[in-house]
Amino acid sequence: MHISEGILSGSVLATGGVLAASGTIIGLRDIKGEDFVKVSLLSSSFFVASLIHVPVGPSSAHLVLNGLCGIILGWKSFPAILVSLFLQAILFQFGGLTTLGVNTCNMSIPAVISYYLFRPLIKKNLFLTGFLSGFFSILLACLFVSLSLISTNKYFLNIAKTITLVHLPIAFIEGIITGFILTFLKKTKSEIMGG
C-alpha cells in the first residue's frame, strides 16, 4: 500500500502533502498530556505491522493496523502514522519521502473516518467495533490508493479491483486482530480507550 517515489505526478504529491500537513496539525492540537504515550504506542504498532507480511492471497500484502489507530486515536492518527511512515521510508525504503504526504493521507483518512463511524459502537460491542474499523479502514485505504494512482493510470476500476482483491483477506485478518486487540486492551489497560 505504500506508493513508491517517482510514480505520482507533482500535483497529487502536493495535494497529499497539504492534506497530510493539515491533518497532522489538527491531530497534534488534539494531543493532551498523557495522550503522548498512547500515540507513540500506536505509532510503533503501525510501524511494526507494515513489516508483517501475511501469506494469504495472490500477491504480497501486509498488515496496516490503521483501523486500530483510528478507533483509539481519532485525529491523532495523522501524526502517529506520519512518523511511522517517515521511519519506514528512511529505514526500509517502503514508500518514499516525496510520497510521504500522499501515503499518510491514504492510511490516516480511513482511520479518522472509521473513528467517526464506529467509535459510537464501542460501548455496545467491542469486538465488532474493532472488526468493522479494521476491515473498513483497509478497504477505504485501498480506495484512496487507487484514487491517488488515477493520474498515472486511466484504468481506475482495474487498479481498484486488483488492490481490493489482494487486500480482502488482509482486511478480514486485520478486522479480527483489531477486534482481539481492543478486547485485550479493555481487559488489561482500559484507560487507553478513553478520550
Partner: protein
C-alpha cells in the same frame, strides 16, 4: 503488554513485505531481469522498460509468472531498467555494458596475434569463455541470495524504529510543554 503482542507477531508470521527488488545478471548475450518483493514473492506480469544512456526507451516487455524477463544486450554503454509493479511499486536499476564489449575487443586482438603461433590457443579462448559463462551461471543464485539478504529489513532496524518513534514524540512533548 503491547510489546508482548509485537514479539508474538515478530516471531510467528514475520517476513518482510512491500518493496520491489530487482535482480539482474548477464548470461551469454542476454540480460536476465528478475523482480520480487522483499519476501521473495515474484513480481508477475509487470511492465519492464529499458532505457539507454540518452533516456530513450529501447525495450519494453512484461515479466512472466516467475517474475523473470530477458532481453538481448543492446548496443549502448549504459542502460536503465525500470520495473513497475501493481499498486504503485516501482524500482530502477542502472547497468553498465561497456565492460563486456572492451573485453571482447581485447580478446580478438590477442587471438589475431597469437593464432599463427599456436593453433590450440583458440581452444583455450573457447574454454575460457565456457568457464566464464558457467561461473557466471553458477554464482548467479549466490549473488541473488546476497542481494536478497541485503534488502531484508533487519530486526535491529525495527527495534530502533520503535525507539525513534518514542523519541520523536518525547521531544515534541518536551518542547510543547514549555
Amino acid at each position: 503488554m503491547k510489546k508482548i503482542i509485537f514479539l508474538f507477531f515478530l516471531f510467528t508470521i514475520l517476513s518482510f513485505a512491500h518493496k520491489i527488488n530487482l535482480f539482474t545478471y548477464k548470461e551469454g548475450n542476454k540480460i536476465f531481469v528478475e523482480g520480487y518483493f522483499s519476501d521473495g514473492v515474484p513480481v508477475k506480469n509487470s511492465l519492464i522498460e529499458i532505457y539507454n544512456e540518452k533516456g530513450e526507451k529501447i525495450i519494453e516487455g512484461k515479466t512472466n509468472e516467475e517474475g523473470l524477463y530477458s532481453f538481448e544486450i543492446p548496443e549502448c554503454k549504459k542502460i536503465k531498467i525500470v520495473l513497475t509493479g501493481d499498486m504503485g511499486h516501482k524500482v530502477e536499476k542502472e547497468m553498465e555494458i561497456e565492460e563486456k564489449k572492451t573485453l571482447r575487443k581485447e580478446e580478438t586482438k590477442t587471438t589475431k596475434k597469437e593464432v599463427e603461433k599456436k593453433m590450440d590457443l583458440i581452444d583455450k579462448e573457447e574454454i575460457k569463455k565456457i568457464v566464464e559463462a558457467s561461473i557466471e551461471k553458477a554464482i548467479a543464485p549466490l549473488i541473488k541470495e546476497i542481494q536478497k539478504e541485503k534488502e531484508k529489513a533487519r530486526i535491529l532496524d525495527i527495534i530502533g524504529g520503535i525507539g525513534y518513534i518514542f523519541g520523536i514524540f518525547g521531544i515534541y512533548l518536551y518542547f510543547s510543554k514549555k
